[in-house]
Symmetry: C2
Subunit: 532 residues, 2 copies
């Protein structure tokens, strides 16, 4: 067979050749803009030519610090297609971590959204590798800024070569992108994505039993483009010529709902907290979501009650998935097998509330502390290990590589059970499991049940030290606006569903649960707050 490499160049060129009339709809600071793939294609080539003129060479890192919009999409293809590496930077990092990752990745150029300039200006004196800053805005005029040299994105694109020829010497194992993932302790850890990994991941996302993304889809990634490639949505959508709806800066549940309605979105993707927020917004009953064929949810476990609400109250199919920055990210999806469709509604919901089965191309196994595979009985807990062509094999220039990558497997740090259908269910993070009297209590199970309580908006369960039992669970609960509940009521709600010793010792009511930059519960901070 021919040794044609699997590269991102072929994805953007496919959109240019075969889907030139299809659209990318982009929300920016000034409003909504429409572009055809023909226009996106030319602008992307022009951007690549500009980067080259600025001195970006093969293998150089190009950082982006931006929301979900067409310019970010152009950067997604311009940098890798000229042989450089797209480094998407989480806009919610602390100044210390921000400086660390830009210097650690040695970003040569930074593309920055105009409203995010102050965050980079604040750390600019600490940056050691950046040779040029590019401000992404709808105007060609440069804003006032302390960054230097500063270029206008639109000016560069307008001066650039829209017929620029992409690199032809890209090996499929060359790096195409990178993203840092926050660690529980210490600095963020860098993950490098190859052309091959992203290409295969794009194919996988279009497979019928995965997300089945097709040309006819209108895809809106709510998951940020600065996080794990927005779950690969921009790549697969471009490959297939799907319409992209990019929701721009400062997304709110209202903006998300409006865009789903107005632009006939067929599939969207994001973390549970996003969908929890949207659910409240949809309850207003003023949005048309009939064209929405799937909500893809991952990042952390979605409560079963939320899945039920989407499907029963709003007739929106909900696909529970699992992945992480290290895995490009899709690893598993919860779908019914054909012989499961006759089960009762509750049984089907149980299956679809799990994280699901591994997608074609990857391998998983679940091991106990001795490294032996646990029983596939849906009961035995173990750490999830993953292997495959879109799984990282190291942290970029980082000693912590040896803790997570062993014997050809990624050790995820996620504790799961696996059933006899091969479907996994996240029980907890390794550090979040609660060890009480020698037995394990799953914080995730308690949380998901708590979130089914009619008065509860979100809930996180953490371990507090206990002299007698070693650790005991404490529930941290945020109530819905205008709803009330007492500790006794909450515990009573849990009682029928758990063994007595699983019940939290205490219910702490709070206004908000601290979250990581990608919307996951920050249990470390929560433990500090509660233990104070």
């Amino acid at each position: 067979m021919m040794d044609t490499p699997l590269t991102l160049v072929s994805l953007i060129e496919r959109a240019e050749k075969y889907f030139s009339k299809k659209e990318v709809i982009s929300r920016t600071h000034t409003g909504i803009q429409h572009f055809t793939y023909e226009e996106i294609g030319k602008r992307t080539r022009a951007l690549a030519s500009a980067l080259k003129k600025l001195g970006v060479e093969k293998g150089d890192r190009v950082g982006t610090f931006a929301w979900n919009h067409h310019r970010h999409l152009e950067a997604y293809f311009a940098a890798p297609s000229m042989g450089a590496v797209l480094h998407t930077i989480n806009i919610r990092l602390s100044p210390e971590h921000l400086t660390y990752i830009i210097n650690h990745a040695e970003d040569k150029v930074l593309l920055i959204d105009i409203d995010l300039l102050p965050l980079i200006e604040r750390v600019k004196d600490e940056l050691t590798s950046v040779k040029a800053f590019i401000v992404m805005s709808d105007e060609k005029e440069l804003p006032e800024s302390t960054l230097s040299p500063l270029y206008s994105y639109e000016q560069l694109v307008s001066d650039g070569d829209e017929n620029f020829e992409y690199a032809t010497d890209i090996d499929e194992n060359d790096p195409a992108g990178m993203c840092y993932t926050s660690a529980t302790t210490g600095k963020p850890k860098g993950v490098v994505y190859t052309h091959r990994g992203i290409f295969l991941h794009s194919m996988a996302l279009s497979m019928a039993d995965t997300a089945a993304i097709s040309e006819s889809d209108r895809v809106m990634p709510v998951v940020p483009m600065f996080h794990a490639n927005a779950w690969g949505m921009p790549f697969v959508s471009t490959m297939l010529g799907a319409t992209q709806v990019l929701p721009g800066p400062m997304m709110t549940p209202q903006i998300i709902a409006e865009m789903i309605d107005k632009y006939d979105v067929t599939i969207s993707a994001g973390v549970p907290t996003i969908w929890l927020g949207l659910l409240q917004e949809l309850e207003k009953g003023i949005y048309d979501t009939s064209h929405l064929r799937a909500i893809l949810c991952g990042g952390s476990a979605a409560p079963k009650s939320m899945i039920r609400s989407y499907e029963t109250d709003f007739n929106i199919p909900f696909i529970h998935a699992y992945g992480m920055t290290e895995t490009t990210p899709i690893v598993t999806l919860a779908r019914l097998k054909s012989y499961q469709t006759d089960l009762s509604e509750e049984e089907r919901l149980d299956i679809r509330s799990r994280q699901g089965t591994v997608v074609p191309g990857l391998d998983i196994k679940v091991v106990d502390e001795n490294g032996d595979e646990v029983e596939a009985d849906g009961e035995a807990m173990g750490e999830l290990l993953i292997r495959g062509p879109w799984i990282a094999d190291e942290y970029y220039k980082d000693d912590r590589t040896k803790d997570a990558f062993k014997d050809g497997w990624l050790y995820t740090g996620d504790v799961v059970t696996i059933d006899n259908e091969g479907s996994i269910k996240i029980v907890d993070r390794m550090g979040d499991l609660i060890k009480s009297g020698g037995e394990w209590i799953s914080s995730v199970d308690l949380e998901n049940t708590l979130m089914a309580h009619p008065a509860i908006f979100e809930a996180a369960v953490i371990a507090v030290p206990d002299p007698k039992w070693q650790e005991r669970p404490v529930a941290c609960v945020v109530l819905k606006p205008d709803k009330l509940a007492t500790e006794a009521e909450v515990l009573k709600f849990l009682e029928p569903q758990f063994a007595k010793w699983w019940l939290p010792d205490k219910v702490v009511f709070m206004k908000e649960i601290p979250k990581t930059s990608v919307g996951k519960f920050l249990k470390r901070d929560l433990r500090e707050i509660v233990n104070k």
Copy 2:
């Protein structure tokens, strides 16, 4: 990213692990048999262990000479998964070509269907590399045969190791399979498939805009498993745990219709002549085909009238595709783009009668005799060139490699037009185009229109030498049973649709059109018959 290779081992192991309860339904000489993937998995390992015991080593070729059934499926995975190469041999080859390809491939072991034994017995004294013959039959007892040493497939499987461990040292670029394609003149040419090529092709077949094959499908390949991997159906079906319905020896339109009905087939694949035959059978009106979501048709151009009949008369969606042995084989599929769904029924049918657009992962271009790309206007004709990771890059140990593989492209020998949507339409084979008075006439266009005539079952148009015009078209026509038509009537039917000089000089009525071993018109023979 991890350098885990893309190999066929992962496909069969996936079926074993996650779809162990799903079924393979196999029609053999004695009747219908049902197997779970758990059973298929064990039998496949046992077969691999037996092959090893017979001396098959990494890279050795294992030939199969068989119909579509579960044993052939087991061989599809056993040989490649132990590091050997599956060589599927066309059962319709002449003794001379049969001997040639077995010796040329240096097959070490041959697996032969019991009813096909005589065909191998006839050439056995000419075979130079075969060390063992295995007869595939439902019984363990060996039949009378002059082949030696002869083993029983079922005995080998029953004595084999159902826990056999597959090879772990397979590189994704290692050969997994091979198939010879008949040449217009001379010996058949060998095509070698790699693990990587077949793996990627399997992913492509499951993509939403391709064949969207899923776990819930019940897949029946009518295209023979001895031809171009049965278009990859056995591989992708196993990868996804789809139910496989293998229609066995001596398929007739009646058997095909009965199996589609009885086993709730959702997707089937084959060449136009098969579907032409089935159409007549369906007209009996006694079959339930409501579950059939797609008929995949390729190998040669399907007449528009046939596509219309399937869709309007029987409500069976028809997907026109294009590929060849050298391309694993899927290259293009004709699907509507989302903005084409509002076109008139006739316009949509026109689009879907074309060969369609290239699937993700491959590149095509259409070039004139100077090698320049032709206009994408749907009018200009040129040769189709293909490139990509599941396209062959040579003929196995064959000097004719240099004629078909140039500058990294496969020169298909197919003349096509390409429109501004990137959709190709086969006009003719390079040698079958009719050059009349310095202009080209497409035999395929004439044929497809002829086959829309209510009395015509099939039609082939060939060039005959002409002293004045260089070449002139002659139509060879097979009438439907109990239907009549005259030459004048046939020409009158064509008249409104073609320029006058396109009309055939003569209509020859025949009982049957000679076909190749894979059901394509044998125009070379036809020319000899007509020119006699």
